[in-house]
Amino acid sequence: MSLSRVEVEKVALLSRLRLSDAELDTITADLAKIVGYVDQLAEVSTEGVEPMAHAIEITNVFRDDSSSESLPREEALANAPHHDTRGYLVPAVLGE
């Protein structure tokens, strides 16, 4: 199937990427080619086959409900590009 540029722009927004016109051209062509290749999966008969989301399928892995030390706040915030002493700062999210 072929990908339209409008579709690729929608995917870029979903991916929170901003692509220049030139990048959009390239990536539209690349994706079309890759998706075209991947389309061969359609020819495989998978009726009654359970999807396999994990490489090794194990179940019921839990930890006990015991609370442990949290990070000191300065250390938690140390990697944030924009923060004050109390928390992370972002452009106002009101009305988002």
């Binding site: 979903l14 989301a53 892995v61 839990f62 930890r63 609370s67 928390g87 992370y88 700062l89």
Partner: protein, 504 residues
Amino acid sequence: MSETYTTIIGLEVHVQLATDSKLFCGCSTRFGAEPNTQTCPVCIGMPGTLPVMNRRAFELALRTAVALDCEIPAFTKWDRKQYYYPDLPKNYQISQYDLPMSQHGHLDIRDPKGAFATKRVRILRAHLEEDAGKSLHDEVAGKGDSLIDLNRTGTPLLEIVTEPDLRSPLEAKTFLSELKLLLTYIGVSDCNMQEGSLRVDANINLHIPASSTDPPRPGCPSDQGKHTIATPIVEIKNMNSFRAVERALEYEAGRLWHEWQETHRKLGEVPKLTRGWDDVAGVTRGQRSKEESSDYRYFPDPDLAPVTVSPAEVELVRGSLGELPAALRARLQDGFALSSYDADVLINQGQAVVVYFLEVAESAGDAKAAANWVTQDVLRVLKETNTTLDSLGLPAARLAELIRQIKLGDVPGPRAREVFQAMIERRVDVAAALESLGIAAVDESELIALASKLLAANPKTISDVRAGKAQAVGALIGQAKKQNPNIDPTRFREICLQLIETAL
């Protein structure tokens, strides 16, 4: 107006499960800490970190699902729900999509005042997921930055979704009360709305009888053969109390009716809208929703193993639940002749108080008195001293003994509370409490002697009573109490009146 349309309501309730640590990391779930002091690399979503599921959270979720009579599938898994928001540090929420841990349950609701018939509200599904953090807006600064606090990020939530079975705002409110009663009773959540441990979103629309002016749309299969028309569905958010839920739904039903009359827009003709409740203004307001935001791109979380639950495990949970509030309420009303109100007061206090009450009631042989003592005095002391039944120092058997002795007259009624207090303070039985207070039961002959003596000294009282003023005896009761504080004033009054009458 109510004959002109039916209100259709479904609820989505998020309940914070009562764990010590978060769903996928060891950070504390305590409420009210300074921003960003309860976070770690895992709940900040730092690169390379991995979630490991809290066993207790799953157990509490399972307990709730079983209590709601849900089907528990043998296999359940975790999915990522993807959307970008700064209080969601991984930009996906670990939740459950197509294989939730429970589905198809129900909860029965009823109105003690009979405003609606007892009804069964179906639960579509209940699933486990992680909470997001909080965005704090500086309202004063207005435009500036928002502060992100991740303390709440990763707190375990159970999302309970009902079918659209509720037909009025009152039913919705009653459902929430009954759900809260159940969840607090089985100990899975404190359901504190102020602290956000119970949150409600409501979906509402109207079904309007089709009239000649609104024939079924040709070619629209959903309209054919139907006698009602559905209006678009609106989701309401930001309701901070059960009362607010009721008010918001009342408001929205009216608004939808008004809108229908103006626009005649039907379900499916406009996208689902979200409106926020403004409790002060008493109105709902439209919220902007982005078209693309609904593509959550759910897929199985590769970092978490699925969970299998056997029928035997489900039965084990069912067995551990004991009697649930609805059955218990029926038993307290029918078997113990308690009012619906008294029954709910007891159940609201949780399983420990109910068990205590049952023991007292059975042992004392007087359910009404037991209910009074437990709901009034015992709960008052627990609250005042901020303690639990275990550490109260008043075993059920002792309270039952007190009730029995009051009935037998061995404990003077007016001093019963003092005795009760002494039993708790000194951690002693009735006899020891009486002794410590110097209370001796006054027997009948002493009461008669005292009454005769006082009547003899107060002939005016006798004549007043004979003239029809029975309340004149009251003056004698005061004098009698001064002479012997242990007398039972009711009995004393009866004796006085009897003596006056027999002396005729």
